[in-house]
């Protein structure tokens, strides 16, 4: 008994959920994410011969990431791509009320809205780390940045997320 499966189908298609999730958060909505995933898969078919082993999910996600960025540029969301200063950011956020934060985090809708408001660079590493559970090294490969940058973006992304979440519970913004 032999089960014939197309090599592309068996290598790439099991990772559609991960591809869709990344596209959803980079594009900011589910509609564009569907188009991005479809386009990414067609690209993946084209490039498949060049795939020399390694992690197929990371390989697909790299394509999804690049497709998403092209997509964002085309939709002239260039402001979202404006580079952020990797140095200018203070690591102090004790002012955030833990109980309020906990309440805000308990709602999936609030969490999604807050993630959507994150800067693209932060959103990207947070999705890859928290949702797809990649290591810093793997994220560095997918996002094409040094590991140190992954580390600082994650730290600052989480801080921004905490602020966004607690700001939502406080109508006055919760800023000092």
């Amino acid at each position: 008994m032999e089960l014939r499966i197309d090599p592309f189908e068996q290598t790439v298609l099991p990772h559609l959920d991960a591809a869709y999730n990344l596209a959803r958060w980079l594009a900011g909505n589910e509609h564009d994410a569907q188009d991005i995933v479809q386009e990414s898969c067609l690209r993946a078919v084209k490039f498949f011969e060049g795939f020399r082993g390694g992690n197929p999910r990371a390989w697909l996600l790299t394509i999804v990431r690049n497709t998403s960025y092209t997509w964002l540029k085309k939709r002239s969301a260039v402001h979202a791509l404006a580079s952020i200063d990797d140095e200018e950011f203070e690591m102090e956020d004790v002012s955030v009320n833990p109980q309020q934060l906990e309440m805000a985090m308990a709602s999936v809708e609030r969490m999604r809205a807050a993630i959507d408001q994150l800067s693209l660079e932060f959103r990207e590493v947070i999705v890859l780390r928290e949702m797809e559970e990649y290591s810093y090294k793997e994220i560095a490969d997918i996002a094409a940045v040094p590991i140190g940058t992954v580390m600082s973006r994650l730290a600052r992304g989480r801080q921004q997320l905490r602020h966004l979440l607690s700001a939502e519970t406080q109508p006055n913004g919760g800023q000092p």
């Binding site: 591809a19 589910e30 067609l42 197929p56 928290e130 730290a155 905490r162």
Partner: protein, 255 residues
């Protein structure tokens, strides 16, 4: 370490990405500083909450992608098709190749086949929604399940402390005999550990060896206690080796 430094490293600490000495320094600080310990708990909680915000692809999209990808993949294969008499040539070539393969039939060939079967087993389990026949993280459930299905009793050590969660087991058929497949999870990735009684020509025990990656999946194998073990996963070869070491270590501890 003071509070400011602790907060600086907190995020990487929660990700398990800090070197051991720094990790220990942070943990020492958490033991003495309630504020920082609370921040750590909050960070862990946030990780959990972010995870719940993940989305999965709608079924309609999956179908659309499959449909869109098929003609492309086929088009890529059609390039290989030749003129009308091609099947004849192909058949003749196949005979020659078959004869050649038969003559050079050796262990390397056997191993390639085995590697391919191991890979197929793992992939089938992932795409066919048939990861396990018995789903349980309890070895007292998984181990007895194999009774009467295979003529050996696989050890199912609990490796959760080492970061490998037991998911369950399934039955498979590899290299002409029944095999037990234990499924573990490392982060989001599944590991299939296939095992069957080692052949008479194999050593009763051999160290962990890595095989060439198959279609993007890492494979390591070893023999222990007269059983042949093959572990396959999309995690890196190094991670898979750690899994193998953890498994070997626990099984030795049990026996």
């Amino acid at each position: 370490m003071n509070c400011q430094e602790t907060q600086h490293w907190l995020s990487a600490y929660c990700d398990g990405e800090l070197p051991m000495p720094l990790t220990l320094e942070l943990e020492q600080h958490f033991g003495s500083c309630q504020t920082c310990a609370l921040m750590r708990d909050n960070a862990t909680l946030m990780t959990k909450r972010i995870r719940t915000a993940a989305v999965t692809a709608p079924e309609s999209l999956k179908q659309r992608v499959r449909a869109a990808v098929k003609p492309q993949a086929q088009a890529a294969r059609i390039v290989w098709a030749g003129p009308a008499w091609w099947p004849g040539i192909a058949a003749a070539a196949a005979l020659v190749i078959a004869a050649f393969v038969w003559m050079t039939h050796d262990r390397a060939q056997e191993k390639r086949l085995l590697l391919s079967e191991v890979t197929d087993s793992h992939i089938r389990s992932l795409i066919g929604d048939h990861l396990v026949d018995v789903a349980s993280s309890d070895k007292h459930t998984v181990r007895p399940w194999f009774e009467g299905k295979v003529d050996f009793a696989p050890a199912v050590p609990d490796l959760s402390a080492q970061g490998f969660k037991t998911i369950g087991g399934r039955l498979d058929y590899i290299g002409g005999h029944s095999a037990a497949a234990l499924v573990y999870q490392c982060r989001k990735h599944f590991i299939s550990l296939l095992l069957w009684p080692a052949g008479a020509d194999e050593n009763a025990s051999s160290g962990i060896q890595s095989e060439a990656a198959q279609r993007g999946y890492s494979i390591v194998r070893w023999t222990a206690g007269g059983m042949s073990y093959w572990a396959i996963s999309e995690i890196s070869e190094d991670d898979l080796k750690s899994f193998a070491q953890a498994f070997l270590g626990e099984v030795k501890g049990v026996q």
